[in-house]
């Protein structure tokens, strides 16, 4: 019997699994495929418009941050640090002021925390920096990034194309290929030797985020040591190396603390008949051969929203929650779901499951649908996470609160 069964392996699901496992619970995480960490920017966005604590009182009561509370967010961030540090990863930043970190398109992205290598990009103004890319790497455009940074008043002092030893020649190189070349200590030494004469006189160097996948801390230290300069990383098009580092660290931490991870199956929720339908009994998972029943004391859904499989939109205008068919806050006028402006208010983004302060999905009468069912992350109603720049903060705060409530 599993104490806590978690569905989904994005930031919310992996973080919840590691947290619950660290607290001694028997954890099973089931996920249909891997989550979005491997394609995002790898930063922890909390509130892009400013300081969350100041904005919080003005948010609607059903906003996930109001449900989870800011103290959950603070505790979650402390816990996250503890999960990343065994892999040598460290987050820099604060809740009091957003970092402004360059994107691959040369925009400045406000975010609260990032792996140190990325966070070192802030401030871009002031000290000169050189912007570099790797020869033949197509997923980071030096021209685009530098052009737009110039418009924003943060022009690179110079531009540089650097070689890399061991790169694929028979196909395009992915960011992961570059990162793996640098993971290899002998290829890395050769590459840095080739860079040395090219970076003479440069004190600060911005590079696409490819500075090591498994050995990122070693690569960073090695680079600063051999070349005597400070570097910062800028995210690339997917795959996202910073996101993959965080994903691997969380997965390893959860497994180290005994969590079992089941990758692949779609799941359907089960309700316990013995409890008169008041409790979740676990899930049925579609394995390769057929359905398997997984029993659990508590179930936590971290399945995400419309883009992630947690919510399914039907042609009728109904929006369905994919595991337990929970009530979903939404409207049924499909034509009103999206705005023609890409940066506009997207109604569908706020669709989701309403929860109580223990992160339990609420029935139409306001009480919990099931006593032992919890939800976290993008599945929750009430936040437009892209517009708010609150995606990872909501994942962490709500997953923390849900695990706290589930294990109370």
């Amino acid at each position: 019997m599993t104490d806590v069964l978690i569905v989904g392996a994005g930031l919310a699901g992996l973080f919840a699994a590691a947290l619950a496992a660290r607290r001694g619970a028997a954890v099973t995480l089931i996920t249909q495929g891997r989550g979005g960490l491997g394609i995002g920017h790898g930063c922890i966005d909390i509130w892009s418009a400013g300081v969350l604590e100041r904005a919080l009182p003005h948010l609607p009561d059903n906003h996930p941050y109001r449900r989870a509370t800011i103290s959950s967010l603070r505790s979650a961030l402390t816990q996250l640090d503890g999960m990343l540090s065994p892999s040598g990863l460290r987050l820099s930043g604060s809740l009091a002021r957003n970092l402004r970190l360059p994107t691959p398109a040369g925009q400045l992205h406000p975010t609260a925390f990032a792996l140190t290598a990325q966070a070192q990009a802030d401030p871009l103004t002031g000290e000169d920096f050189t912007l570099a890319t790797i020869d033949a790497f197509r997923d980071f455009s030096l021209a685009l990034a530098s052009h737009n940074l110039r418009q924003l008043g943060a022009p690179p002092a110079s531009l540089l194309e650097l070689p890399m030893v061991g790169l694929p020649t028979r196909r395009d190189a992915y960011s992961t290929d570059l990162a793996r070349c640098l993971d290899d200590s002998s290829l890395r030494a050769e590459t840095f030797r080739a860079w040395k004469p090219r970076v003479l006189g440069i004190r600060r160097l911005g590079l696409p985020a490819v500075l090591g996948l498994q050995s990122h801390p070693v690569v960073m230290a090695d680079l600063e040591d051999r070349l005597g300069l400070q570097v910062f990383e800028i995210p690339t098009l997917p795959p996202s190396v910073p996101g993959l580092r965080i994903e691997a660290a969380l997965r390893a931490d959860a497994q180290r603390h005994g969590a079992l991870i089941i990758e692949g199956p779609h799941v359907i929720g089960r309700v316990s008949g013995a409890s008169n339908g008041k409790r979740a009994a676990g899930v049925v998972a579609h394995t390769a051969g057929g359905p398997h029943v997984y029993n659990a004391d508590r179930v936590l859904l971290a399945t995400g929203g419309v883009l992630h499989g947690g919510l399914v939109t039907l042609p009728t205008g109904r929006v369905q929650e994919s595991v337990f068919d929970l009530p979903v806050v939404h409207n049924t006028q499909r034509q009103t779901w999206t705005s023609p402006q890409i940066g506009g208010r997207q109604a569908y983004a706020t669709f989701g499951v309403a929860v109580d302060h223990q992160m339990r999905p609420r029935a139409l009468d306001g009480g919990p649908v099931l006593e032992n069912l919890y939800a976290a992350g993008g599945l929750l109603a009430g936040a437009d996470r892209t517009r708010e720049g609150s995606r990872q903060g909501i994942d962490l705060a709500t997953a923390y609160r849900a695990v706290e409530a589930a294990l109370a």
Binding site: T28, G33, Y174, T176, P239, I262, E263, P265, T287, A288
Partner: protein, 406 residues
């Protein structure tokens, strides 16, 4: 278009599969599962050759399908594309290594001679030169007697011959447990009997997976149909089919329907009634196993769950059991794949790539200084043992030792 091909439309090009692919990570000969799969699929015409030969570098490990968050059958698509690309010119070598049953029938009676011959570097060099079988790839020794011969009393032709259907298990040995490792099968049978099952051996042939992986789909379908015909009556009688070879059980469960396209009630019943050994222990014998007394097994071990096991979509059912064994210092593999992927690493031109795929795992074993490797698939065991010079066991062998059955 094939059924897996239709799932190409679900692809968002997110590259999660590309990042996870163990082959693309070590060679630029392979553009990655997304590129040769959902991306190339839209240019493929039914019946025509593949648009790009690079798909032949896919090892068929199945990682891409497992990590896809949108249900794209990437690996299935690529296996079919590989078969399409190979059509009409499948080398003699592939024809040969696709038929472990023929090899077994021939090699087992001549075991002393065959084993001696295959251990000779000169002969292996000749095999590499003449056929393209990598000379450093492991070739397991044939057993002198087959499992079917050793366990004649358990052979049953039809479910009607089974006395106590309720606790009976039908053992699917496949080729490896019949011709190479009958002792492993006997260990598994001993564990099942210890936990209250009676075990029979139904009629069966090679699962056909090596044929399928080498593009011989028609021959693979013949094997599959034969197994469906002989095993489904047992499944219909409520007798579960249990195997220790995790890629064979996956074939019975998944590939027959989803790659070979065999439909119908019999294939479906067989799929639902087939279990990998630890899946069966975890889902059908859970309470008995929970009550069993596990004795200490003093060893430092690295557990590597094979790709084919992970493709069952049921996690790692052996892991919680292994973790319960006292004094077993168990470490979990950080590698996605060991590299061999069935017959992939046996091929001269693929050997290097396969070894590079496994290097992360071999390095982890060296770093942790473990005494042994534990892994559920025979080809992985042989391959990892060769490259780490460590003994490699099936988890059921460790469990049997802990139950003091061996």
């Amino acid at each position: 278009m094939t059924a897996p091909g239709l799932s190409a439309d679900l692809c968002l090009k997110c590259n999660i599969c590309t990042a996870a692919c163990p082959v693309a990570a070590v060679t630029d000969l392979f553009p990655g599962p997304k590129a040769v799969g959902p991306q190339a699929e839209r240019y493929r015409q039914p019946g025509a050759g593949s648009v790009d030969a690079s798909v032949t570098w896919c090892s068929g490990c199945g990682t891409c399908t497992r990590v896809c968050p949108h249900g794209v059958q990437v690996a299935e698509m690529n296996i079919l594309a590989k078969a399409q690309a190979a059509r009409g010119h499948i080398p003699l070598r592939d024809q040969f290594m696709s038929r472990p049953e023929w090899l077994g029938r021939f090699g087992s009676p001549l075991a002393p001679l065959a084993n001696f011959a295959l251990s000779q570097p000169l002969l292996r060099l000749a095999l590499e030169r003449l056929l393209g079988i990598a000379r450093h790839a492991p070739m397991p020794p044939f057993s002198h007697t087959t499992l079917r011969r050793r366990q004649r009393a358990r052979l049953v032709r039809t479910p009607e011959q089974v006395a106590r259907a309720a606790t009976t298990v039908a053992f699917y040995h496949g080729c490896s447990a019949n011709y190479y490792e009958p002792q492993l099968a006997e260990t598994a049978i001993a564990v099942l009997e210890h936990l209250g099952c009676s075990v029979i051996i139904p009629p069966q042939v090679c699962c056909g997976l090596p044929l399928q992986s080498n593009g011989l789909l028609r021959a693979a379908r013949l094997q599959a149909r034969s197994n469906i015909r002989s095993l489904s009556p047992f499944a219909k009688a409520g007798i579960p089919i249990v195997g220790t070879s995790t890629s064979c059980t996956l074939s019975l469960k998944h590939d027959y329907q989803n790659i070979l396209g065999l439909e119908g009630e019999d294939a479906a019943v067989l799929a639902e009634s087939t279990f990998d050994i630890f899946e069966f222990l975890a889902f059908r014998l859970r309470s008995t196993l929970d009550q069993a007394i596990l004795h200490e097994v003093t060893a430092r071990a690295l557990y590597h769950p094979p790709c084919q096991l992970k493709s069952h979509f049921m996690g790692l059912p052996a892991l919680p059991v292994l973790r319960r064994i006292p004094e077993l210092d168990l470490h979990l593999s950080e590698a996605e794949c060991c590299g061999i992927a069935g017959t992939y690493g046996l091929k001269k031109e693929k050997y290097r790539v396969a070894r590079d795929v496994g290097e992360g795992l071999f390095a982890q074993a060296r770093r942790l200084n473990v005494d042994c490797i534990i892994t559920d698939s025979e080809t992985c065991r042989w391959w990892i043992a060769r490259h780490t010079a460590l003994p490699a066991f099936h988890p059921v062998q460790i469990l049997a030792q802990s139950l003091r059955l061996s």
